[in-house]
């Protein structure tokens, strides 16, 4: 993987100037390459990783992992059904998986009722959905490579040879 991507994946706010210094390139060059990645869709988006446990009660959210069993549609297989499901804004992730069920859908909502309602009223009644199993998340430890806790302090002694 291009080192520019490696740097941005760790720190989406790294500036072109800083990346240029790190990689011994000109800032213009870096800017051009990032632009190209954005245009091609290699870089889709920049966002913050938020530890929701630390924010106000009213902003908290509930998440559920939902196992969905599908009836495949003729010609288009699972893709069409998946699209109907992942297009709901409540769905934050959607994966086709091997094993006992077909889709793994991650749904978020402001409380347990909102998520339940979504499952009961939107997801379950869909024509090609054979069955769902809902798991509410109790605690998030790590997400997308980020451990969700305060950064550890530097444990080294402040000066040494």
């Amino acid at each position: 993987m291009d080192e520019i991507l490696e740097i941005l994946e760790k720190d989406g706010r790294a500036t072109c100037e800083d990346i240029a210094k790190m990689l011994k390139k000109s800032p213009q060059d870096i800017k051009k390459r990032i632009g190209k990645y954005e245009k091609e869709g290699v870089i889709l988006k920049y966002k913050a990783v938020i530890n929701r446990e630390l924010i106000r009660e009213s902003d908290a959210e509930v998440r559920a992992l939902i196992e969905v069993n599908l009836l495949p549609q003729k010609d288009v297989g699972f893709d069409k059904v998946a699209e109907r499901i992942y297009s709901f804004p409540e769905v934050s992730s959607c994966y086709l998986v091997s094993g006992a069920y077909d889709l793994l859908v991650i749904v978020s909502g402001k409380d347990i009722h909102t998520v339940s309602r979504f499952v009961a009223e939107k997801l379950s009644p869909m024509e090609n959905v054979k069955g769902v199993v809902t798991h509410f998340l109790l605690k998030k430890y790590k997400e997308d490579g980020v451990i969700l806790k305060h950064r550890d302090e530097d444990k080294r002694i402040a000066i040494s040879y």
Partner: protein
């Protein structure tokens, strides 16, 4: 009153910057670029192996030379990585870091009055440990040759009492390293005068511009060379204290003799973790190296922008920066930077009395901290610049 401290120890010169170190340690919220160890913590799979070994009850002594499994792992690693061939039974010794290995090596080699060449600037322990072993350090200043040891100046300081040299590359504090051709030139001189080479290659895995060449790899050098390395820097395992020495059988046997009475063996937990590092640590080593390399470019570019003279380091994670344009000596500079800007660096005199115009910056720090610390240093320099 009777004095109990030995004269030998009394004669060891106290470090002039101890007071400065205490000053740093007593201050809060300092961004430190003065740390001589990685800012990464040991990769999890290695820590996990240490924990598992404790759970399984591995709490005993190991053989004096170290776990056979670890020595075998090292033999394979050295052969695969550098084409070195050391016997796990006779030619590899596991030590408490390179520090212990260096002490053992000097004590195993030196008779009272033997001279040991120490190119300067040097890592802080080399001269004192030489003296403790009864040897006499012979210093070679490398400033005029971009901090690289030149065959000609090496030749000049050799006499019949010179028995060994301590090489260190990539080097602490300069980041200087040697390519094969440069090493060959040094080797020629050493072989001609039959001088033993203690080669501290603890930063071997952190060589950024060319492949690292162990001194022992050079043709004809193996029999006169002790290869020292360890897990501290490459695997971010400083606190585990695992190093190793590889060399001719008689030297390793002599070192083992001292080691078995003074240390017995390296803690087994650390050795077990080191085994895991050799097996599974490659990816982490490469990742950390890439990160250091990016920081090197960043720091070097920034220092140049600030008008600081320094050589581009080829390895390790240090830059030796000239502060001559501030009109301050290194201790005044370091103290001022600490109290005015809360940034810590190591004064150059720690690595040799003549380096009053230098400070060592370590880039074993997050990019965020490097950026901030260098900006503060820039303001400090602007304020104190004389020419």
């Amino acid at each position: 009153m009777r004095k109990f401290v030995s004269e030998t120890v009394e004669k060891i010169k106290p470090s002039g910057i101890r007071v400065f170190f205490d000053l740093v340690l007593g201050m809060k919220d300092v961004i430190s670029l003065g740390v001589g160890e990685p800012d990464f913590i040991t990769p999890w799979q290695i820590r996990e192996a240490g924990i598992t070994s404790l759970e399984q009850g591995f709490t005993s002594y190991t053989s004096n030379k170290g776990l056979y499994k670890l020595r075998l792992g090292l033999k394979r690693y050295l052969s695969r990585r550098y084409g070195l061939d050391y016997s796990a039974d006779e030619e590899i010794l596991i030590t408490v870091g390179v520090s212990e290995a260096m002490d053992l090596a000097l004590r195993a080699i030196i008779d009272p009055g033997d001279k040991v060449i120490v190119p300067q600037p040097n890592y802080v322990s080399y001269d004192s440990v030489t003296e403790l072993a009864g040897g006499v350090p012979v210093y070679v200043d490398t400033r005029k040759n971009n901090f690289k040891l030149e065959p000609a100046s090496l030749e000049k300081c050799i006499d019949r009492k010179v028995k060994a040299i301590i090489l260190n590359y990539p080097a602490n504090p300069t980041g200087v390293s040697y390519n094969r051709r440069e090493l060959e030139a040094i080797k020629k001189v050493l072989l001609r005068h039959k001088i033993f080479c203690i080669s501290d290659e603890i930063y071997a895995e952190l060589s950024y511009d060319f492949e690292h060449t162990p001194f022992a790899c050079l043709k004809g050098a193996r029999a006169n060379t002790l290869y020292l390395n360890g897990f501290s820097k490459s695997y971010a395992m400083t606190g585990w204290r695992v190093g190793y020495a590889c060399g001719p059988q008689d030297i390793i046997a002599a070192m083992t003799k001292i080691h078995q009475y003074t240390i017995m063996c390296v803690p087994i937990t650390s050795q077990m973790a080191a085994c895991e590092a050799l097996q599974e640590g490659r990816k982490s080593v490469d990742e950390m190296k890439r990160e250091y390399k990016r920081r090197r470019e960043f720091v070097y570019t920034r220092l140049n922008q600030m008008g600081c003279r320094c050589l581009k380091p080829q390895g390790a994670f240090y830059v030796f920066v000239s502060i001559a344009n501030t009109g301050l000596n290194c201790l005044e500079f370091a103290k001022g930077l600490l109290t005015e800007q809360k940034v810590a660096v190591v004064p150059g005199t720690a690595f040799g009395g003549q380096y009053r115009d230098y400070v060592r910056i370590s880039y074993a720090a997050s990019l965020e901290n490097l950026k901030e610390a260098l900006s503060r240093m820039e303001s400090f320099i602007k304020k104190h610049k004389v020419k």
